[in-house]
């Protein structure tokens, strides 16, 4: 329950997925920059160079950082979700406070075999805590584990 607790890293495929999303964004940025370059007479590179740097940051560095800073644990009947590169957040939801659970798959996530687990609580703050980047079968197993714990508690 403390710093000493081992966090489980997310599925490595999640890193590739974030790269792909960032890549799409980067392509759009670079196309826009190229149009701007065409408009400015003379190939100066004043637009192209900074945009290329930003794109490299988005595609190469940021997904890695985001992946490294994220993690979860299910120790002691508590779901702990850690995330954030700049603004860190470390949330704990005891299973007994979970109202209902969603496992969602977007089109990209389905392609990578990933899923997002979302637990809903009755609280106004953190009314839903979501954990993306889980392997689909892991997400389903986690849902079963949380559900079993809830059923046991309410019986």
């Amino acid at each position: 329950m403390d710093e000493t607790d081992e966090l489980t890293p997310l599925d490595p495929r999640y890193k590739s997925m974030m790269r792909l999303v960032a890549g799409i964004l980067a392509v759009i940025l670079i196309i826009a920059a190229s149009i701007a370059e065409f408009a400015i007479p003379g190939w100066t590179g004043v637009v192209w160079l900074p945009v290329a740097l930003v794109a490299a940051y988005l595609v190469l560095y940021l997904p890695m950082r985001r992946y490294v800073t994220r993690g979860y644990s299910l120790e002691q009947e508590r779901l702990r979700v850690v995330r954030g590169v700049l603004f860190r957040s470390d949330t704990v939801v005891p299973f007994g406070r979970v109202q209902h659970i969603d496992v969602d798959q977007g089109p990209l996530e389905r392609g990578y075999g990933l899923a997002t687990l979302t637990v809903h609580t009755a609280g106004t703050h953190n009314a839903s805590v979501s954990l993306p980047g889980l392997a689909h079968e892991d997400a389903l197993a986690m849902r079963e584990e949380i559900r079993a714990a809830i059923r046991r508690d309410t019986q």
């Binding site: 009947e77 957040s89 470390d90 949330t91 007994g96 406070r97 609580t121 609280g123 703050h125 953190n126």
Partner: protein, 507 residues
């Protein structure tokens, strides 16, 4: 418990209320239409066409209201309440007793004249999808409320004893007479109405025979007949300003008293078998029951001025919705020794004498002030160099205000973690004390921004049903300690069990 499977209609008088409301709604568009249509031309001719049309519209409305009334039925069944409605398209909604969190009765002015109430069945769906019956007679509303409560209890606990105490004998916990409401109103002085008056003056200044905002014209006016005024010298001018301010003050105080009296008239908070029952209001009288086991946290607030006179307020944060807000006023305006018994009834307790109060880290406050300074000092310098004379005073004032606020909050904001509760005292102009039960929280989050990580403090954000609770500027180690302590209390009880326990005080 008798079987009542027959479908019932709402009170016939509600048809009358509806028709009258519709007529009132018609009067305004008709008046507007008649002004625009009858403005020019042959009035006699137009009335010939116009009057039958009006009569037809009114009749149509009455017929529709009547049809709607005949088609709206409710059935108090064995396990649920069903409402069927609709003239052309029919809708049927069924709400099982176990899902009804509470029944609230509301009386607006017009229904009240007819002795009718609007009965709302709160299902915890957030207030918008709730079932409502407009309108039933007062006695029928009371009967439904009792019925739903007793049915729900038998459905849940099969406890026959509780149903026997049908007519509740109530113990009054807090009441406000006219005198107290008046005092309360004095403190509810609002500058908002002054702003509204100013706004209206700006909106409708075309109605005034002169340009309100043109200083040159004002000078000219003063130079004319106003010369006499200006000639009276600075003393008279100052007196004029004082009189104007006093007039605004009187307006603010009167509206404050008026609004408070409308809302709080004959305030009564009673303890009943089902929870705290609150009735208040002069024209629109509301009647709300807050079940004790649904109370999530308490908030004791006060104001900048009213604190000097020892007045405080108590709000109950609960899952049930109170016409929009989840914060129920339990004691809107009272002394601490009047609030303490109410707090005891809710199962919470005021912070003990030996509570370990701790302040936010000084670094956290300093960082906030420094961050503000990073923006406001350059803004002051730039505006002092480039902008017109007095503009630089604004960012400087903002900076001084922020520094003063951070210092004040460092002095006055405290937190404490008790055996079963946690306390957070915070606020600057209107300080408040939040009392939350450790087991009734939903989640615990430790949040750190980039500055906070470097400087070693964190915010603790707690998931609270129906409210917000966030404690800033805690040392990271302490935030972790609080979190593991709270999580340990949380793990011991399942939340749904907390909700089911009838009237169980917070452990």
């Amino acid at each position: 418990m008798t079987r009542q499977e027959d479908a019932r209609r709402t009170d016939p008088r509600s048809f009358a209320v509806r028709a009258v409301t519709m007529l009132f709604q018609l009067v305004i568009p008709l008046a507007v239409a008649s002004v625009t249509i009858l403005d020019d031309g042959d009035i006699g001719d137009l009335v010939g066409y116009f009057l039958p049309l009006v009569i037809v519209i009114i009749l149509l409305n009455v017929v529709i209201a009547y049809l709607q009334w005949t088609k709206l039925t409710y059935t108090v069944g064995e396990s649920d309440i069903r409402v069927e409605s609709g003239v052309l398209s029919r809708a049927a909604r069924s709400v099982p007793y176990e899902r009804i969190q509470d029944v609230s009765l509301e009386q607006k002015l017009l229904p009240r004249l007819f002795g009718l109430v609007e009965v709302k069945f709160e299902t915890g769906a957030g207030g918008k999808d709730d079932l409502a019956l407009t309108y039933l007679s007062e006695s029928e509303g009371e009967r439904l409320r009792e019925l739903v409560r007793t049915r729900r209890d038998t459905a849940e606990t099969q406890d026959a004893e509780e149903t026997a105490t049908a007519p509740e004998e109530a113990e009054v916990l807090f009441a406000m007479g006219p005198r107290r409401v008046f005092t309360f109103g004095l403190f509810e002085f609002s500058l908002a109405v002054v702003a509204v008056l100013g706004g209206l003056a700006q909106q409708f200044d075309f109605l005034l025979p002169f340009e309100l905002w043109d200083l040159d014209q004002w000078e000219q006016r003063l130079a004319g007949p106003g010369q006499r005024l200006a000639g009276l010298g600075p003393l008279a001018q100052a007196a004029g300003i004082v009189i104007a301010l006093a007039a605004l003050g009187v307006v603010g105080v009167t509206t404050g008293i008026g609004r408070t009296a409308l809302r709080e008239w004959d305030f009564r908070l009673e303890r009943t078998a089902k929870g705290l029952r609150r009735r208040r209001g002069l024209l629109t009288r509301t009647d709300v029951v807050m079940p004790l086991h649904r109370v999530q946290a308490l908030r004791i607030g006060t104001g900048f001025l009213r604190r000097r006179f020892g007045w405080h307020s108590l709000k109950v944060i609960s899952l049930a919705s109170d016409s929009g807000g989840a914060n129920h006023d339990a004691v809107p305006f009272g002394r601490m020794d009047e609030i303490a018994p109410v707090v005891a009834v809710t199962g919470f307790s005021l912070p003990p004498e030996d509570a370990q109060w701790a302040r936010a880290l000084a670094r956290y406050r300093i960082d906030k002030a420094v961050l503000a300074a990073l923006f406001l000092v350059p803004a002051t310098v730039v505006s002092a160099l480039f902008a017109r004379e007095w503009v630089w005073l604004a960012p400087l004032a903002g900076l001084l205000f922020t520094v003063a606020q951070q210092w004040w909050r460092w002095k006055h904001d405290y937190r404490a973690l008790g055996e079963s509760q946690l306390y957070s005292r915070h606020g600057w102009l209107s300080p408040s004390l939040a009392i939350a039960s450790r087991v009734k929280l939903q989640s615990v989050e430790i949040a750190q921004g980039p500055v906070a990580r470097r400087r070693g403090y964190a915010s603790l954000a707690l998931g609270l049903a129906g409210g917000r609770l966030r404690i800033n500027g805690m040392p990271v180690a302490e935030a972790r300690r609080w979190r593991s302590a709270i999580c340990d209390s949380l793990a011991r009880t399942d939340f749904s069990r907390l909700l089911e326990e009838k009237g169980a005080p917070a452990p």
